[in-house]
């Protein structure tokens, strides 16, 4: 049985310890009169809070990748429901149901940008989403900021036999080059065009996990 602490538990412990130490200085600030007390104050009032804040930021960044995080806004409910469409032609549903992507990070896996600082950019966009959710006007229908980039598909599929040797992908040498250059969209070129289909959910059957 593993006894390793989870990052969140470790963070809670560290927060608790820091609060106790800071409270000690708040109650007895005269402790800092000595040289040792000054060093303690520096650790407790500067180093520990910085470490705890950094760990907290890291934990929140990890949590913000979770499917549960994205679906916590009601406006995303149909998109979450579309992951359960009982039809393998629907790309997100097929990926989710067959565990081709981590189910607990389904949205993030396909919708982050696989470029330098892609995660940071995704978080900045997320902040804008929160603003729109609570203070702005939610566009109908919700649309991507830019056309879906093949780069996000190729992050996993490039090099995979099913992709590299796929009959359609290799039918003409120019096709593969166009796909990899993002000139021929995986989604909108007519090959894998069935995605979330939130406007038609009422007409579709759904998979119920056992």
């Amino acid at each position: 049985m593993s006894t390793a602490l989870s990052p969140a538990t470790l963070l809670y412990v560290l927060i608790g310890v820091t609060i106790v130490l800071v409270a000690t200085i708040v109650i007895r600030p005269s402790l800092t009169a000595t040289r040792g007390g000054k060093q303690l104050a520096f650790v407790v009032l500067f180093l520990l809070p910085v470490v705890v804040a950094s760990m907290g930021a890291s934990e929140h960044m990890e949590r913000s990748k979770q499917t549960q995080f994205c679906l916590s806004c009601h406006v995303m409910d149909p998109y979450g429901r579309s992951l359960h469409i009982d039809d393998a032609m629907y790309v997100p549903a097929a990926h989710f149901q067959n565990a081709r992507i981590p189910r607990d990070e389904a949205c993030y896996t396909c919708h982050t940008d696989y470029v330098m600082y892609g995660s940071i950019l995704a978080k900045v966009r997320g902040m804008r989403h929160v603003y729109v959710q609570y203070l702005g006007t939610i566009p109908k229908p919700i649309q991507l900021y830019s056309p879906y980039n093949n780069r996000e598909c190729l992050h996993c599929h490039a090099g995979a036999r099913s992709f590299e040797e796929g009959v359609v992908h290799t039918a003409d040498p120019s096709i593969m080059a166009s796909i990899k250059a993002n000139q021929l969209s995986c989604l909108t070129s007519g090959c894998h065009e069935n995605v979330h289909a939130v406007a038609h959910l009422s007409e579709l059957k759904f998979w119920e996990p056992k």
Partner: protein, 69 residues
């Protein structure tokens, strides 16, 4: 108010701000929700930065009295 008393007062305020920030951070970890993230970033982070800044300011702004020879 003596320098020592002023220093202690600032340390108290700094400590209380940091404790508030840490409590907000602990609370924000209870739920996985965008508002928890924002609370952590802006409310908890704000208290923490204010507390740390107050502590650092107290270090540089309060000078010890000159030693008597």
């Amino acid at each position: 108010m003596t320098m020592a008393a002023l220093m202690e007062r600032r340390l108290r305020i700094s400590g209380m701000l940091i404790v508030l920030g840490l409590l907000v951070e602990a609370l924000s970890l209870i739920r996985i929700h965008p508002l928890a993230f924002l609370g952590f970033m802006f409310v908890g982070g704000g208290f923490l930065i204010a507390g740390i800044a107050m502590y650092l300011y107290s270090l540089v702004s309060i000078t010890a009295p000159p030693e008597v020879k």
